[in-house]
Amino acid sequence: MLAFCIRRIAQAVAVMLVVGLIAFALFRFVGDPVVFMLGQDATPEDRARMNAELGLDQPFHLQYARFVGRALQGEFGLSLRQLRPVSTLFRERLPATLELAVAAALFALAVGIPMGVYAALQRRSWLTQAFLVLSLVGVALPTFLIGILLILVFAVQLGWLPSFGRGETVALGAWSTGLLTASGLKALILPAITLGLYQMTLIMRLTRAEMLEVLRTDYIRFARARGLTDRAVYFRHGLYNTLVPVITVAGLQLGSIIAFAIITETVFQWPGMGLLFIQSVMFADVPVMAAYLCLIALVFVVINFVVDLLYHAVDPRLRLELAAAR
């Protein structure tokens, strides 16, 4: 187990170093940072002094090491567009994205699992057919279009919910939350549904497939033979065993949710990190892009690592394979 952990950590670190190298190459070779900071008409002496100050006259590997060192402390320099430290920008915007992502994930689970269970238990019902068609359309409908349609119906036509922004936020120390005000909660509804809809259809189909599989097994038949009620058979025995793979996939999808938040945040002008990132792509704001790249890579690497460990803990067959390989 320890060897497995160490190997996976080494892999994760390697991935992060490669991503860091790409980010650093962005920094170093795309555009001249000295020109950015001093302007076009600085004297050669000024440039040479700035070069030395920034350490740009050192060899490449030393510069990279310095970059990694600073990145580990969360320092990525100044945003070229806003002229403020990237770390400050991220700290301001992280709460918005995390609240949105968690709300979307909860929505996907809370709606997707019951729908999937229903679709598995009532296979011939018209509602099940409707769910399945919905999931097909949900796959073909791009995230941004879902957002636009929701805005059109609930914000423009009905006027029930706000169409952009976070509403009022309350500061809890460094964390600004929209969850404690009525307008903040109202503003969260449409973006969370937009972001979670695709994952919801995914979870629904997965729950249905797993549930159908489980209901065919012998222990369910024995549970019935013991005279347990339908309720106990379906929910105590069936659903429990369905949930393991469903939760795993949901966990793996968390990274995708954060990535797809870029789109949802653009549609709803949600002041999170995704919006910051897309603006940095548009304006070629290299430090922000590099920092976002590193951060999102970290999220994915951590999620994959945790899932691998969980699989390892849950599935004894993997451990046997490992022992056999040795």
Partner: protein, 303 residues
């Protein structure tokens, strides 16, 4: 028996005829594609000829509304462009980007997959490690990053004709992994077969063996992936354009049209957004259904 008759008699044609959903999807897809390719022929107006645009025509609702004009079936946008015509032209661009990206992914992925599977060793390890890492990130994120890099490299990418190739590059490079993995797997199986060993014994060049002998036998799964990938590529293109880092408004794709229309959602001109959206979803859904059918029809285990 002629070739056509042989094809109509094949398993593939039989399964096609017996799946009504697939037939409908195919008709919808063909209509979209023909309409898009022949846009200059079918479009009632030329939306990009500035001389023919009249701002007095702007914001006309669809023809069946009271203020609608019969000559603008689906209404007009803020510049007086006919929405139906822009959709035809937009579908053309969306399809062009989609097909070009799929071809790029396919060529790159199939080539690397063949190399990895046939040569093996360190090359295989490197290619597959890169594939693993790339696969753990969503394709849209990779496409966005490549797009950002390209924008920095060519600062005028937003306006010029480069935009098209920047998008093709970002979508194409983000999608090769699927092809490479599948082709590598099939190549490993094929490489052990006798015909490959025979070719090796008579001294054919490894590249010739890979591309002349192995490649034709691994194309089935590649075709399936390409069809489903086309749907994804069109969606990704639309998303990039909607985010403002895709096709410029002067040569709009469906995604750009939706982005333009989005600005007028609040003043009640919903048709500028909704109709391109419907066109996009119909196209993607039909291509997706065709891909699903092809996958099942070519899978011998499901027969």
């Amino acid at each position: 028996m002629t070739r056509l008759a042989a094809f109509l008699d094949s398993d593939l044609a039989w399964s096609f005829r017996h799946s009504p959903v697939t037939v409908v999807a195919a008709i919808v897809a063909v209509v979209s594609i023909v309409g898009a390719i022949g846009a200059p022929l079918f479009a009632p107006h030329d939306p990009f000829d500035l001389a023919k645009l009249d701002l007095l025509d702007a914001f006309a609702p669809p023809a069946w509304f009271d203020q609608g004009k019969a000559m603008f079936l689906l209404g007009t946008d803020d510049q007086g462009r006919d929405v139906f015509s822009t959709i035809l032209y937009g579908t053309r661009i969306s399809l062009a980007v989609g097909v070009a990206s799929v071809v790029l992914s396919m060529v790159l992925g199939t080539g690397l997959g063949l190399l990895a599977g046939y040569v093996g060793g360190v090359l295989d390890a490197i290619i597959m490690r890169v594939a693993d890492v790339q696969l753990s990130f969503p394709a849209i994120l990779i496409a966005l990053l490549i797009n950002g890099l390209a924008r920095i490299a060519w600062p005028d990418a937003a306006h010029a004709g480069i935009a098209f190739w920047v998008i093709v590059l970002s979508i194409g490079l983000s999608g090769w992994v699927q092809y490479a993995r599948t082709v590598r797997g099939s190549t490993l199986v094929e490489a052990r077969k006798e015909y490959v060993q025979a070719a090796r014994v008579i001294g054919r060049h490894p590249l010739a063996i890979m591309f002349r002998h192995v490649l034709p036998n691994v194309t089935g799964p590649v075709l399936v992936i390409a069809t489903i990938h086309l749907a994804t590529a069109i969606t990704t293109e639309a998303t990039l354009s909607f985010l403002g880092v895709g096709m410029p408004p002067t040569t709009p794709s469906l995604g750009t049209l939706i982005r333009i229309g989005n600005d007028f959602l609040f003043s009640g001109e919903w048709w500028i957004t909704v109709f391109p959206g419907v066109a996009l979803v119909t196209l993607v859904l039909s291509v997706n259904l065709l891909g699903d059918w092809l996958r099942d029809a070519l899978n011998p285990r499901l027969r």
